[in-house]
Symmetry: C2
Subunit: 477 residues, 2 copies
């Protein structure tokens, strides 16, 4: 949690930005409640809503707030504890003192939120809200506003039409550019994330169950931070992007993709990916593909700077990747034509990167297009490029991931062959010997600076193929 004046300043900026867009009425924030894992009182570890944390900082469940845009009055809604609560949860500061601690003068019981919103609606005032991320929040917003709870969720990439466009725009503008105190937290998250990945790499031993490595690496997220910033991907099937099964034993001759991040106690994320040869040495075939992905990762970082659109960085990486695949004979023909035809999407059906901050895909529920696309930028429908979550012209303070990958997805290759999607650019004959290859992804987290860019975290994880092999040899020595 930051100092009180941080939250006071952020809320004032929010109000100013919304009013500059012509907004009036009230803005409501519904913080998260505990989320049941089994029965209702047995909950997952509490994770506060990121927008709530950004503007109010209070990391406790069942808080809400109303900001009056016209009068400037701010009220926090939460319940004080009684003796039963004290027995189970211990003595707690009063809601009034918690609110005062983040510069909010007024407080009221949680149930009074309903009255406050009903009063505003009865007067015909506008009620601004952000899209819901959780079912509870959707139910609460639905009942406050008298609309179907599902209306409060994002409707895919375009965001949530029922939510306040002015409020969303104001929040996105602010959270896209990280403050210095946020960069410090992100550096901390990344340094710990690098330690977490080092523990993982040291655990890569043929015969070990994947789940054992996950346990060892996630231990660090719990000992040093809140936990993982997303569900750990640790798989010998890198071609499956969100493979969360960890049941297999480490087999010789495979590639192990580890995509994992740590969230700090103050809720800032890291997100790194490395791909390891399970036996410690790449086969020549693995090394050829790895070298291309490695060079793409380096190339992306080299051209990432203020004023460059991340869309163009993605496209430049696609070109470099296709050149490498062409050199190996997996594709053939004119590189420009291939980029135009979206051939890179067959091998990398995801975007080069995304914004990162308190959420690992920062602000995703505010609407991917609103967060990641600037005025005049239109999202592509192509496979791969269409999944690019950050396309904007970069400005200092942006934090993005740089995560190129090459995958061989048999079902996808067969579909393209069947449907002629490749327009003749793909050498299917040669590709067949890659059906059991798996996939490779290499990811760093990058801060845009005034002079260019800086990789976050104190110690970059080994990434050059020789360095990876040397590190794995040293791990075993």
């Amino acid at each position: 949690m930051f100092a009180k004046d941080v939250y006071v300043r952020r809320r004032q900026t929010l109000i100013d930005s919304m009013k500059a867009q012509g907004a009036d009425g009230i803005a409501i924030f519904v913080g998260n409640v505990d989320s049941p894992a089994q029965y209702r009182d047995n909950c997952y570890k509490f994770r506060q809503d990121s927008c709530w944390l950004y503007y109010f900082g209070i990391d406790e469940p069942r808080y809400a707030a109303v900001i009056d845009l016209d009068g400037g009055e701010e009220t926090i809604f939460a319940d004080d504890v009684d003796i039963d609560d004290i027995i189970w949860m211990g003595p707690m500061p009063s809601v009034a003192s918690v609110a005062a601690g983040v510069g909010v003068a007024n407080s009221a019981p949680y149930g009074a939120l309903d009255d406050a919103v009903a009063r505003a609606r009865a007067l015909g005032r506008r009620v601004h809200f952000l899209p819901a991320s959780r079912y509870y929040n959707a139910m609460k917003l639905g009942s406050l506003l008298g609309i179907d709870p599902y209306e409060t969720f994002s409707k895919g990439k375009a965001g949530c039409p029922a939510a306040s466009a002015e409020m969303v725009r104001a929040v996105v503008e602010m959270r896209l550019v990280k403050e210095d105190i946020e960069v410090e937290e992100l550096d901390r998250a990344c340094t710990l994330g690098q330690q977490m990945h080092t523990v993982a790499r040291q655990g890569v031993v043929v015969g070990v169950k994947e789940q054992e490595i996950v346990g060892a690496m996630e231990a660090l997220t719990l000992a040093k931070g809140w936990g993982v910033s997303f569900a750990t991907i640790l798989t010998q099937h890198g071609e499956i992007f969100h493979c969360h099964s960890h049941e297999n034993l480490i087999e010789p001759g495979k590639l192990l993709v580890i995509d994992a991040g740590l969230e700090t106690n103050d809720h800032y994320a890291s997100d790194f990916t490395r791909t390891y040869p399970t036996g410690g040495k790449f086969t020549p075939k693995q090394r050829d593909i790895y070298q291309i992905v490695y060079e793409c990762n380096e190339h992306a970082f080299d051209i990432t700077r203020p004023g460059t659109a991340y869309l163009d960085v993605h496209l430049s990486v696609a070109r470099k990747m296709l050149q490498g695949l062409s050199d190996l004979g997996l594709v053939r023909g004119d590189i420009d034509g291939m980029v135009e035809a979206g051939i890179a999407g067959l091998f990398m059906p995801h975007g080069l990167g995304h914004n990162m901050g308190m959420d690992v895909h920062d602000m995703e529920d505010l609407g991917e297009n609103i967060v990641g696309y600037g005025p005049g930028q239109k999202r592509s429908a192509q496979l791969g490029l269409g999944s690019l979550r950050m396309a904007r012209p970069l400005v200092p303070g942006n934090v993005v991931t740089d995560e190129p990958g090459i995958y061989f997805i048999p079902d996808l290759i067969k579909q393209w062959k069947r449907e002629g999607t490749d327009k003749g650019y793909v050498n299917y004959g040669k590709l067949e010997s890659y059906y059991d290859f798996g996939g490779i992804r290499l990811e760093d987290d990058v801060l845009i600076t005034t002079g260019g860019a800086r990789r976050l975290g104190a110690n970059r994880l080994p990434i050059a193929p020789d360095d990876v092999e040397a590190a794995m040899a040293a791990d075993k020595a």
Copy 2:
């Protein structure tokens, strides 16, 4: 996951039991979906609904089922994957084959559940459902049945009036008595849970941050199982029952309460508590109280057997505890009178134990009173006894926790003194020197056998005060 015939048999027993109670119509099961942690696509580790797992075994999100009680027809509702899903999640077996794997002949898309229920309702057939534990399930049930989602939640200890009494009763009867294959899983959970606690004990070193110990112990839950069976309690403020803060450093001379459990990959829980002197040696004052709690734990186990009501075990422990506190001069007067007046509740404001199974408080959302109280047993309103979750006459196959504790809660003591709740039994003068004592709880997991009872897990954690000190000395050697 168990063999197909286990699920076929269980569902048949459920149907038979519901029909024997006169139920007709359809019974619906809504499995869990992924639960968002940050934004909607960044979810907590998936945990399936326990009742769904018990009857259908399928550990995947977004499954539902309908059982036709009259015709006996069973249908599973879930969606097959398309090429986008394959890229992100990998190839998956068809829903039809998954359903067949648990003996269900029919399958349909997830959306068809709405039609199936609407059809039954249009025909005036009864629709049986179990109480919801999560907000999504409440929203889904609410929309299927045309009722307020909040109506589908348990309303406190009495359960959920809108849910099917026959279905709840049938499920409770079955899940209260663990099958041999379940006992095997519970033994596995408990053995791993004991390993987890051993790691924790070894980490108890003055100057270490509590969170570091939590990370080390939870590593084992992730490496060997699904994770924790509930949010870990590890605190030097044992008098706060659900203290989930782990920010403090281990201080000398304190008592550290560790209440933590592991859930296996197949979703059976363990739940153990030990209390350690932070420096490795109890002070005489700590040892006096510890000895009472230790003897209560042993006494409870000694008298736990088929035919005895766990309510009577609780009351017998209360008597023993009050005798011990009387010997120390903290209470005074007639023990029978004290038990009657509920004086034990001042020191142990919780019940002796609860049922344990797939849920660590097994089936809590089906209604605590229905699960834990048999015909003719009425729940007390007294502090402590009123929180007893398992009062029933014990039968072989029941699994309960044995977890006496003594706590000194200054706010509660002051309230009793102010309001005269103790009826003169309490020696407040002497109690004052215990305001900074904290609390002690000692918990084992117990299976009721035909001959008596057996503690679950391969290696009971050291519990006698000398054994605890010896183990801590050996840890450091």
